[in-house]
Symmetry: C2
Subunit: 237 residues, 2 copies
């Protein structure tokens, strides 16, 4: 039976600048489980990656406009604007609210910026887990994005290493033996969403392990290269 | 440890008009497992729901334009058009490619339309599983939608029963004790995505069971009422 397990990794300490996430994850996995194994996919939220990489900034107190200015400084383009909400394109090419600047689960008076290069962040965690535990895992750095047309946010991948961001089904056929029309599935986004279901926004569990992932998806990868739709192909940019 | 299992339900026969999905799912679960239990969420793809509800139509052979006319007949609005691809609003209020009309995994020369009311389809399956197996499960009817800005499709919910579509975290606080900024999570979409990871587009497994879902999410629900963003709030419609 095809079967997937999604396991919250609990017991991670509060993360601060300079912390080595691979070390903290390895320690938590050894101490409380789940023990990591080859082929696991480790999903890590953007928030702890940003904290470890020193991407927290202080907001000027008593300056109501500081947050907006920070958001604008982090965006290369503003697609839409309504009140406090800006829909922006980030330097990495992601389109999201407020350039990914986030003030929840960070110390009061601070905001967390996106990692500069979340693919690189994912690779570092993957390499660090291999060095510490001798395991080959995939790593997804996830963030919580809203979407047009549908209420509610879902978690998606902003960085990947060792796990495909998008799987191309061209050349495979459907169960009736004909060519498939839908050809590309964003499996890293689906893994990020599956992980979110055990993390919970409010519970402060920033890492989950997905076990049982299709082995052919475990390959060199990049969220920015695979998942960002080139503006020329995009009907809504 | 917070833990979720996602289990493919194998052994479902080919589905045709008039088939009672709850009966087929109950039989397959009894014969091969997973045995269904209270609190499970059963994710069923739109394709088999449409087949069971007789939503297959024949496409006029030798009429290259038949598919486009069918798509236009199923849309209340066309948001964008590029070649064969139309981004449309369906009568239910979903925004998706080609009004949800799909020609993969259906007999040659046919196309599958969306269920008329996938919330009702989900309720029927939920009620049928209660009647047959004595279990209280949530049901999500899923479909594969593309998104702007990001390549690759993900599975989302187009119908729900007994499982929240969107969870409102207003009033809860983050792990540092302050009010959360991101307040709504589309858990039914995340469940649909998690299920897709064990179904696979090409493998023809149209049902999966998600076990271990947060109990407070199991409540009366509706995908159309909860997940569709009202056009007045929508910046991209």
């Amino acid at each position: 039976m095809r079967r997937l397990e999604v396991l919250a990794l609990e017991g991670l300490p509060q993360v601060g600048p300079g912390d080595v996430l691979a070390g903290l994850i390895a320690d938590a996995a050894r101490a409380r489980g789940p023990e990591l194994a080859d082929g696991d996919v480790v999903v890590v939220t953007q928030k702890v990656v940003s904290k470890a990489e020193g991407r927290l900034v202080e907001l000027e107190p008593d300056d109501a406009d500081a947050h907006r200015r920070l958001v604008e400084s982090q965006a290369v383009r503003v697609l839409r604007r309504r009140g406090e909400l800006l829909v922006t394109e980030t330097p990495q090419g992601f389109v999201c609210a407020n350039a990914g600047v986030d003030v929840s689960n960070v110390p009061v008076g601070h905001a967390a910026l996106l990692p500069v290069d979340a693919d690189r962040s994912a690779r570092r965690i993957r390499d660090g887990l291999r060095a510490r535990l001798g395991v080959e895992v995939g790593v997804v750095v996830s963030d919580t994005f809203g979407r047009p047309w549908r209420r509610g946010a879902t978690d998606v991948a902003i960085g990947c290493a060792g796990i495909a961001a998008v799987v191309d089904l061209r050349g495979t056929s459907d169960a009736l033996g004909r060519a498939l029309v839908v050809t590309e599935v964003a499996v890293a986004d689906e893994l990020a969403s599956a992980a979110e279901l055990v993390m919970g926004k409010a519970s402060g569990v920033p890492v989950a392990v997905v076990r049982g992932v299709e082995r052919s998806w475990l390959r060199p990868s990049s969220a920015t290269a695979e998942v960002i739709r080139p503006p020329a192909e995009d009907l809504f940019r």
